[in-house]
Amino acid sequence: MQRRTLLKTAVIVTALQATMALAENPVLKIGFVGVTSGPAAAWGISNQRSMEARAAWINETGGYTIGETTYDIEIVSFDDQKDPKRAIAGMEKMAQEGIHYVVGPNVDDGAAAVRPVAEANGIMYFPYAFPKSLYQAPASNAVLGMVANYQSGPAIYKYLMENEGVKTVAFIAANESDPLSQRDGGVAAAKELGLEVVSDNVTYQVDTTDFTPVLTPVMRSRPDLLVLSGVSPANAPQLIRSARELGFEGLISTETAQDAGVLAEGAGDLANGFISVGGASTPELASPMMNEFVDRYKKMFGEYNDESNTKVYALEYILETLKAEPSAIKDVDVFQASMDTFEAPNPYMNGDAKLRYVGMSSFGQRRQVAVPLVVNVYQDGVFETLFVAEVD
């Protein structure tokens, strides 16, 4: 073991020297703790790659100026394997690296588990997890990095009630924490809107590959709308395909972000009409900067992932807020204090959209990034914008 450790250290030292030689600017490290291996890898990898693509872009164009100093951005990633224990270790690692701003974790349990570490070490983190307790006082350091299902769900249901005459709805969720919580939130929202919930207790195992038996009883209730609560990108095409093949003719929707390419491969034309939440890359909304980001991402990693439309934002928010409040680089209290008033133009969207922190009505404090709530509908391999809304 001795020699191996030595060798490893040597490799790391050389690597470090190499980066140092290249970098002329001081380095600002931003962390990522999330899942980049295993079944949910798609979530974390799209996240990590968005950050890396954006960082490479910034560094290539001379760095990012905060206050007097121009920094090169370095992304430090930690794979938590979707295990809350690892997520804690990852957050400790971030603290060790002197990082104060971290994107992730991707799931509820990880986000809850890292909270003590983040708060003890002065780390602001941007999870993609929806439990309100993470963002409500006394919790202080988490900022929701996307639109929560309890915000997008009601908007979608309402739209469909008004425009498609939807009256009955059925929910189906994977049997694990995140999807079940999202289903419960969705059911409550639907009932509040006056929808009739005809089926809400059918679940499937995360590792299910064949959804026909799972969906058969749901289809019997013949809902107008089938909601796939918290569905993972891997399962969505299978569920859609099975539902359609079973003769389901109603609408299908979800409140999580999906990838058009995956839907096209997995379900083909059967996915037409599938409604999901996206980011800001529909042709009408995407600014030239968004388009360039997509191009750079493609160049760097071979192919784009539509989930990154949402995930490009967290890093931008961190950097823009630091630019507005340079002393926040080492002091998250300053960051938190500035969140109430922070405002900057949204570079990824056409028009005069703003980057700002929201969440007053859901959390009682501004602990959510304002990203446009874009609701997409899938049609022949691409997403089309159904409607755009805002979260307060």
Binding site: A89, E92, A113, A120, S133, S177, D184
Partner: protein
């Protein structure tokens, strides 16, 4: 501990010195504070792995320790959050409850052997995870979060254990607590293996029918061992929940059960301290490879394969010549 040789005593002394003095000093010098959590994890996972090792000792492949760790974590969390009990009381309660469950489940399933026992324990892990998702008392999918830190304990006004919430550096406190628990666990394990019961276990590992025919009450021993094993699992899990200050159905799952087993294999099934070393290498190794980025898993698995390829009896078999504390 009458049968410890002076050489072993020196070893134990060195080990205690390393854990309680050298490691904290080194961390202070190098400033690698993040290692505290990693090493605390190692200590706690090593406790659970010790239990798995013990079931190996009676010839059973146990892939169910994650279930008992999760049970322990939930029992402690529920007692602390809903019952307002001190964590230090909930900790043994978690272990005892896990042991109780082990006795009830063990009665039917300990008759199984080989891969059948392995499989049924694997399924058990899933059963416990799904039960945690379905039960109201565990708060279902939402889990239990915002668990308070362990409070202090004092007897007649003399503080025995300080209040963690009032502490400047909880990392160090958790590290010491976890290490003390680990050392107690392995001391107990060592004692057990070198007792009459340990002797009977070895005879069962060789051949259950033979052991039974010479008058060993094998079903009684099996249950006792399985209960002790699960007690360790419950303790490890409960402590983890307290560090994370949250427990979810996914806190311990099948992957954890498998890892506990792998720790034992890697360290060496023939050595009491095997699981401790195995846990250290497997868990700490993953952490050390963190710098490799996307090649982390690749290098990790290659090293793992190389180790088992060239040391099929575990890392501790390197010193097989000396016999080891069998």
């Amino acid at each position: 501990m009458k049968n410890l040789t002076s050489k072993q005593l020196v070893g134990v002394g060195l080990f205690l010195f390393a854990v309680f003095v050298a490691v904290p000093v080194l961390i202070r010098i190098t400033g690698r504070w993040d290692f505290y959590f990693t090493l605390t994890s190692v200590a706690l996972l090593a406790i659970a792995s010790a239990g798995v090792w013990l079931t190996f000792y009676i010839g059973r492949i146990n892939i169910g320790q994650g279930a008992f760790a999760l049970i322990g974590a939930y029992v402690s969390a529920i007692l602390v959050v809903k019952g307002g009990v001190s964590f230090w009381i909930s900790l043994p309660a978690a272990g005892l409850f896990a042991a109780l469950v082990a006795i009830l489940i063990g009665l039917p399933i300990l008759r199984l052997r080989g891969v059948y026992f392995a499989m049924i324990t694997l399924v058990l892990t899933q059963v416990v995870t799904l039960t945690a998702l379905a039960l109201p008392i565990t708060n279902g999918a939402k889990g239990i979060s915002s668990i308070p830190l362990p409070s202090g304990i004092s007897i007649f006004g003399v503080p025995i254990i300080p209040d963690f919430a009032a502490m400047e550096n909880t990392k160090l406190a958790f590290y010491y607590a976890a290490c003390i628990l680990m050392i107690l666990t392995y001391a107990a394990l060592y004692r057990l293996v070198n007792s009459r019961l340990g002797h009977l276990c070895r005879s069962m590992q060789q051949n259950e029918e033979l052991a039974s025919s010479i008058g060993v009450n094998i079903s009684y021993i099996r249950i006792v061992i399985f209960a002790i094993s699960s007690f360790f699992g419950g303790i490890g899990g409960a402590m983890f929940g307290s560090i994370a200050q949250s427990v979810y159905p996914s806190s311990f799952q099948v992957a954890d059960s498998v890892n506990f087993m792998l720790n034992c294999f890697l360290g060496g099934l023939g050595y009491v301290f095997g699981p401790m070393l195995g846990t250290l290498v497997l868990y700490f190794g993953w952490d050390l490879l963190f710098e490799l980025g996307k090649y982390q898993l690749l290098v990790y698995s290659l090293i793992l394969i190389a180790v088992i390829r060239f040391l099929p009896n575990g890392l501790l078999s390197l010193r097989l010549g000396k016999g080891g504390p069998k």
